[in-house]
């Protein structure tokens, strides 16, 4: 595996992943991942199903702590601080590195409360109505939801629920937003809206997104990491690994790895 440093990286690294291996119980899921996620950019993870994209993404804000038996080796540095150091509070980590999940998971509360909940527990001192409106606008949901702010979050369609979850994540204004296939339940128009939003958001946030949609990776991301499953491990156990991590343009136009070339050109597997 070779990792060419993306040119953008030289500027400012937000999260540095250093030789990270993650296991579920005794099963290793990904091995030996190195990458420097640049600040103020959109980084995309692509790769076939089961190669460990979500696993690595969850490692970036210690969501894996919640999965029984999940363990991590190596280091994840956020602004130079090891996220897995003993004295680090995972709750604080998640206040600064927010997350949007693959499946929409609104709280069983009103739309308004869904957004206000996170803000409140983060000690928000400003005007809540304003924050709710701003977040919903950013997530391209305001027009559809402004008349039913007091209805349950479940009263929305699946795609709307996902945008509500995005609004909920950006409402707490984290420094980094992690998104696991945020558009997999969305129609093309909402997807476009989310993508526009990401362009807007990256002015003030660092974004990491997992996507199966390669056009989307090209459209929104500055840097791309390609993950793959390899059999090179002893026996037949499949372990995920990061094959290539570079500027998106390079990944899609002149990748240095054959596997990347095969995957992005659709000649895969």
């Amino acid at each position: 595996m070779t990792v060419s440093s993306p040119s953008t990286m030289a500027t400012d690294t937000c999260i540095a992943v250093q030789n990270v291996s993650i296991s579920y119980g005794s099963q290793e899921a990904v091995r030996g991942v190195y990458m420097d996620i640049p600040r103020g950019k959109v980084t995309a993870f692509i790769g076939p199903s089961g190669c460990g994209k979500s696993t690595v993404l969850r490692a970036l804000n210690r969501m894996n702590d919640l999965i029984e038996g999940c363990s991590l080796k190596g280091r994840v540095l956020f602004d130079g601080h090891d996220l897995y150091a003993k004295n680090v509070d995972p709750v604080e980590v998640r206040r600064r590195i927010g997350m949007v999940f693959q499946k929409p998971n609104p709280f069983p509360k009103t739309i308004y409360e869904n957004i206000a909940f996170g803000a409140r527990i983060n000690g928000f001192r400003g005007n809540m109505d304003e924050l709710v409106e701003r977040s919903l606008r950013k997530a391209a949901l305001w027009d559809e939801a402004k008349d039913k702010l007091n209805e349950s979050g479940y009263a929305l369609s699946g795609g709307q629920q996902q945008r509500l979850c995005i609004a909920r994540a950006i409402a707490i204004e984290p420094e980094v937003i992690l998104m696991d296939e945020p558009c997999s339940a969305l129609d093309p128009i909402s997807t476009l809206k989310i993508e526009e939003m990401m362009h807007e958001l990256k002015k003030s946030y660092t974004i990491v997104i997992v996507t199966h949609n390669m056009q989307q990776a090209v459209r929104v991301s500055d840097v791309t990491g390609f993950f793959n499953v390899s059999n090179r491990a002893e026996g037949d156990r499949k372990v995920g690994c990061l094959v290539e991590f570079a500027d998106t343009e390079q990944i899609f136009n002149s990748p240095s790895q054959q596997a990347t070339q095969d995957y992005v050109s659709g000649r895969f597997g």
Binding site: M63, E92, P108
Partner: protein, 293 residues
């Protein structure tokens, strides 16, 4: 040619297999009738014998001295409410807290397995043994201000009985809450405490409430743990540290007395108890339906 006899496709009741079928169906129907019969009979008797006696006076007066007429079950009604309330105040926090531990904090380790096993064992401990335990722990040692039999002792004995049910329902209800919901809360930086109290417990409220209501209903009708903890009293409740009357112990005591008046009061108390418990069961059913929608 087939090797089996084939006839027309008409149903022939005379066929041996069809006769067996009818026989077994009839048998099962008779069994079901026999199983439901006691409920009907108990309800009919309690409603007729007890319901006909109910009056405001009955619900608000003290029981008569042996051999005298009249009187009521006011003190027992109040006592049942008090003792059950004490039991609930102990059992609900303990049970919900333990259930939260099992479902939200434990990671399937040895301690959690021990607690789960212990909960099941405690659920199977005969209720009379709970009474013996609380007698030995509190009544015989005069643990509370030198008092022996007391309402508090009775409440604790009932609480021991309720706790396993509350733990199990809380544990199971929380396990039904989707993990995505927990992640959603933690993903916006909620602490475990906030996630549990603001998101998961409210989401599991209806099934937990169902279990709690059923546990309370069961405790309200229990007698065995009370007969030598709360004892009985022919007077109005006098603080929480004195013996207290309850409807279930009243039924037990009065049923074996040779006086008509007392036996009538036992039927009346049965009526009140059964109506309360059936109402609680209907409430629990309604809550259960609520949680499924």
């Amino acid at each position: 040619m087939t090797s089996f006899p084939r006839g027309a496709l008409t149903y022939r009741p005379g066929l041996a297999r069809n006769r067996y079928n009818q026989l077994f169906t009839g048998l099962a129907a008779v069994f079901t009738a026999l199983a439901v019969l006691p409920l009907v009979l108990v309800l009919v008797y309690v409603l007729i014998k007890g319901g006909s006696l109910i009056s405001l006076r009955l619900l608000s007066e003290l029981p008569p001295a042996p051999g005298l007429e009249g009187g009521g079950i006011g003190n027992a009604l109040l006592g049942t409410l008090i003792v059950t309330l004490i039991a609930s105040l102990i059992a609900i926090p303990v049970g919900v807290g333990s259930g939260v531990y099992l479902a939200e904090y434990s990671r399937g380790g040895a301690f959690a397995r021990f607690v789960r096993f212990g909960t099941n064992v405690l659920a199977g401990v005969p209720s009379i043994i709970c009474g013996v335990f609380v007698y030995g722990l509190i009544v015989a040692t005069r643990a509370f201000a030198g008092q022996s039999y007391s309402a508090v002792a009775g409440g604790i004995a009932l609480a021991v009985l309720m706790v396993p049910t509350v733990i199990k329902t809380t544990d199971e209800a929380l396990k039904l809450v989707a993990n995505e919901l927990r992640w959603g809360a933690l993903g916006v930086g909620a602490s475990k405490f906030v996630t549990i109290t603001r998101i998961t417990l409210p989401a599991a409220l209806a099934p937990i409430a169902t279990g709690v209501v059923l546990a309370i209903a069961r405790a309200a009708g229990e007698t065995a743990p009370l007969i030598f903890t709360a004892l009985f009293s022919p007077f109005w409740p006098d603080g929480l540290l004195n013996p207290i009357a309850s409807m279930s112990v009243l039924i037990y005591n009065f049923a074996i007395m040779p006086y008509e008046a007392q036996i009538s009061l036992a039927w009346a108390a049965s009526f009140v108890l059964v109506v309360m418990i059936l109402a609680a069961n209907l409430l629990a059913r309604w809550l259960g339906k609520l949680s499924r929608t």
